[in-house]
């Protein structure tokens, strides 16, 4: 093939340009630390990166959710322990009260004590965490536990002793506040949530406080304390009259402890979820680094190699384009 001066210089310029482009590209890699700056450079890695980023963002969401639920449960535990302690005080108080050596005045003092404890329990029942009532189920705006004129407990405006309210109260007791903590939340074919794929953080107060019965025979702890108190004040005080209430109270009181244990179990489960989520996050981050980011040492070595060949090309140019026959003509 006939090779001419312009062919040599054109090809040289083309190759030099290619080399410079490559050097620029590699230097960009060193500067940004990225394996690719545009999706079209590596479409397969790009699609991986998008997916990993989405997964990573989701783990961040779950992390926040787990922490939120954890704080909520801590608040619930504190208040429930408080309630439980008050119940113990109620217990020790009325044990004193039913002691045969007590006279009416002594019993009045104890009744007063029970009244105070009732108030304290009511305060705990209406405790708020952030803007949600801890034991109020889905209540946010209205105080869940209130009293009617007779000093009987109302839950969300419903008399807890009224059998007519039984159905509604059943519903409220089993109310759920489900949170997506990364358990793979799904809905079934009817558009209903599969409850085992979410975390239920609700702590309906009515569930452990009890409901149902009648006005004379309440099932609710608060109302039972009221009844015990009334009986202590009753001039015809007798053990026989008060003992059904005490039996019922002691039976229902266990529910409070059950719920405290329940919270403990839930907290443990949350700890497990948190660790799992953090591991997940760590792994995703590692993968993301592998997919998106260049090993700095490798990037610099590649750049140096390219720089070397670029310099070599430059010095070659000087030689290729230097002489022709004309230079040697006499």
């Amino acid at each position: 093939m006939r090779i001419t001066t312009s062919m040599m210089s054109n090809k040289y310029i083309k190759n030099l340009n290619k080399s410079a482009y490559e050097m620029n590209y590699l230097s960009e890699k060193v500067e940004t630390g990225r394996k690719f700056v545009k999706g079209s450079e590596d479409p397969v890695s790009a699609i991986k990166a998008y997916k990993l980023r989405r997964e990573y963002r989701t783990t961040e969401i779950y992390d926040t959710n787990i922490r939120d639920v954890e704080s909520f449960l801590t608040a619930a535990e504190t208040n429930l322990t408080e309630i439980s302690n008050n119940m113990e005080s109620v217990y020790t108080s009325y044990l004193k009260g039913i002691n045969g050596t007590m006279n009416d005045e002594d019993r009045e003092i104890i009744a007063k004590q029970l009244e105070n404890l009732q108030r304290s329990i009511l305060t705990s029942l209406n405790a708020k965490f952030e803007d949600r009532y801890v034991f109020g189920g889905t209540n946010k705006e209205e105080i869940p536990f209130t009293l009617d004129m007779n000093g009987n407990l109302l839950f969300k405006g419903l008399d807890v002793n009224d059998p007519a309210n039984k159905e509604a109260l059943d519903k409220l007791a089993n109310e759920t506040i489900n949170i997506d903590l990364g358990l793979g939340m799904t809905f079934n074919g009817d558009g209903e949530l599969n409850t085992d794929t979410v975390f239920d953080m609700s702590m309906s107060g009515i569930k452990f406080m009890g409901y149902g019965g009648t006005d004379d025979n309440p099932e609710n702890l608060y109302n039972l304390i009221g009844k015990i108190k009334d009986e202590l004040r009753n001039p015809d005080f007798s053990i026989d009259k008060i003992s059904p209430y005490i039996d019922r109270f002691e039976e229902q009181k266990k529910q409070v402890l059950v719920h405290i244990t329940d919270i403990g179990a839930k907290t443990n489960y949350l700890d497990f979820l948190k660790t799992r989520n953090e591991d997940n996050q760590f792994n995703l981050n590692k993968k993301l680094l592998e997919v998106e980011f260049e090993d700095p040492a490798e990037a610099i070595v590649n750049f140096k190699m390219q720089e070397y060949s670029y310099n070599a090309a430059l010095s070659m140019g000087n030689r290729i384009l230097q002489n022709s026959f004309i230079d040697f003509m006499k």
Partner: protein
């Protein structure tokens, strides 16, 4: 046979003259070594024979030639290489335009080094999750609304950017490529005229030919052409060549000898068409263009992929390749599909139960759209289809001062129950981000044979972006291949046509030596005559 006394002088003169011509051609070559498009020239010479045809008798003794004759100057050029070069240039031109346009488009969708639409979807999801810890809270809902609003604005931005790219490319086509083609064909026609006139008067007009070749090369970058040489008899047994340029594989003439036709852009039913206006009529040549930058623009501007309708691919009124090529309209439609699906799904989820039947199932619903279309008639908002360009927060949501997001669709336990803390419907919305939706070409879920993709909103966006990335990478490879081939053909062409200094240097030496030799011949002949006339017999 008798030799005439001054016979040798003629030979020496012709040698001097031809060598002088040689040197002049070398000079021309050296001076144009850097001239773009210049083709190296050579002097065509032949030796002069002694003409014996008019002699009465045969010629005894030797018949010696009578020197050298310069017939003319010609070029080193290979028409086949020109043909191949122009074919590759057309292909590279088409890919180059698409590559640049796709890169622009890629920068709209690409989220590799910047958080954009995909990240905003995740942000909205994050805010919805936060809402589960304080549902029905107007402040928290405000955060959700802001995130959703940014999402809609991002859709709007994407759509606007795509429109800008569309207009930009259309402008490049109209005022760049098409204008350039018209200018080139006009100049080629003019050159045809000049070359013809020169040829008639016997001038090969090599430099004009170079210029014309360069213009034809350039023209082939814009549109795929076929160059034909048509001989013209100018009498006296002489013919000269005239040039006709046609659109490849067709009879549509861009240049016919001294006349050029003009092409123009015509917009028709949302498709870009190219028309050729000749002396008598105008033809639609859109579907006959197979290469060159104009082909690249047509592909990019008209390519609709799966979204092409029957009318779009009509071979007469449409663009035949509309369905097989994915251009800007395809990606724009993909984005519209996503915006529409997202708005539809979320609007559907935010409806609120109005009444329940005996079993506690919802009987009637109140619609509470979260998203709407800008420019829709407020009395009948459904008439305007939600697209990426017009999606916005619904007016009701934007002006809501109280809680607007439906947090629960469960029946209340009591009439006055406060269930503002329930989250079941928010979970449904969160789930919508993980649900596999079917994305349809025509946004009509009743027809099932036109599903584009099945997946989440974000997966659909990634799918679109990846499609674009892959296409860009693909076009990049094609372009590299074609331009590499183009370079190699040009290299081969240079090998034939370009000036080489070594060669010209050698020629220079050789011709100057020959010139000296011819001069020496003259001197020697002179000395011989001197001997014959002045010294003989003295």
């Amino acid at each position: 046979m008798l030799r005439s006394t001054f016979l040798g002088y003629k030979t020496a003169t012709s040698a001097l003259k031809v060598n002088q011509n040689h040197m002049d051609v070398v000079g021309q070559n050296i001076s144009n070594i850097n001239t773009k498009g210049y083709t190296r020239q050579r002097l065509d010479i032949s030796s002069v024979a002694f003409n014996t045809s008019n002699l009465k008798y045969g010629t005894p003794g030797p018949v010696i030639g009578q020197g050298v004759n310069a017939n003319g100057v010609s070029q080193f050029r290979d028409a086949f290489l020109d043909l191949r070069y122009r074919m590759e240039t057309s292909k590279a031109g088409s890919e180059q335009v698409q590559l640049e346009a796709l890169r622009d488009l890629e920068s709209v969708f690409d989220e590799i080094s910047m958080d954009k639409l995909d990240a905003q979807f995740s942000d909205l999801l994050t805010q919805l999750h936060s809402l589960t810890s304080s549902p029905s809270d107007p402040v928290m809902e405000g955060v959700v609304r802001t995130s959703a609003e940014i999402l809609t604005q991002m859709f709007n931005d994407y759509s606007r950017d795509i429109e800008t790219i569309y207009n930009q490319q259309l402008n490049y086509l109209e005022n760049g490529a098409v204008e350039k083609v018209n200018e080139l064909t006009k100049n080629i026609a003019k050159l045809n005229q000049q070359i013809k006139e020169s040829n008639i008067s016997g001038n090969p007009a090599l430099e004009l030919n170079d210029e014309r070749n360069m213009l034809v090369d350039e023209l082939s970058n814009y549109i795929d052409i076929e160059v034909d040489i048509e001989p013209l008899n100018i009498g006296g047994g002489k013919t000269i060549d005239e040039l006709v340029i046609r659109l490849s594989g067709t009879t549509y003439e861009l240049v016919n000898r001294n006349n050029s036709n003009t092409i123009s852009v015509n917009e028709q039913n949302g498709l870009i068409k190219i028309e050729l206006t000749g002396a008598t009529d105008t033809d639609d040549i859109t579907n006959f263009i197979k290469g060159g930058q104009i082909d690249g623009y047509l592909k990019f501007l008209n390519g609709k992929g799966e979204f092409a309708t029957v009318d779009d691919i009509d071979p007469v009124n449409g663009y035949e390749k509309a369905a097989e090529v994915k251009g800007i309209q395809y990606y724009n439609n993909m984005l519209d599909t996503l915006a529409n699906k997202f708005a539809t799904v979320m609007n559907e989820l935010n409806r609120k139960p109005d009444s329940f039947d005996i079993d506690g199932n919802v009987q009637t619903w109140i619609t509470k759209p979260l998203f709407g279309a800008r420019g829709a008639d407020p009395s009948d908002p459904d008439t305007e289809i939600i697209r990426a360009g017009n999606i916005k927060i619904s007016d009701d949501w934007a002006s809501a001062t109280d809680s607007y997001i439906t947090n629960t669709i469960k029946e209340k336990a009591g009439v006055d129950e406060d269930n503002t803390g329930a989250v079941d419907n928010i979970l449904r919305m969160i789930n919508a981000f993980n649900a596999k939706n079917e994305f349809d070409v025509d946004r009509d879920p009743s027809t099932t044979n036109d599903i584009l993709f099945k997946g989440t909103f974000q997966e659909f966006l990634s799918y679109t972006t990846t499609k674009l990335n892959l296409q860009t990478a693909d076009v990049q490879i094609s372009f590299d291949t074609y331009s590499e081939t183009q370079f190699h053909i040009d290299y081969a062409r240079s090998s034939m046509s370009s000036v080489d200094l070594n060669e010209e240097g050698v020629n220079l030496l050789q011709y100057s030596k020959s010139y000296n030799a011819a001069a020496r011949l003259m001197t020697t002949l002179d000395e011989m005559l001197e001997t014959l006339i002045n010294r003989m017999g003295v």
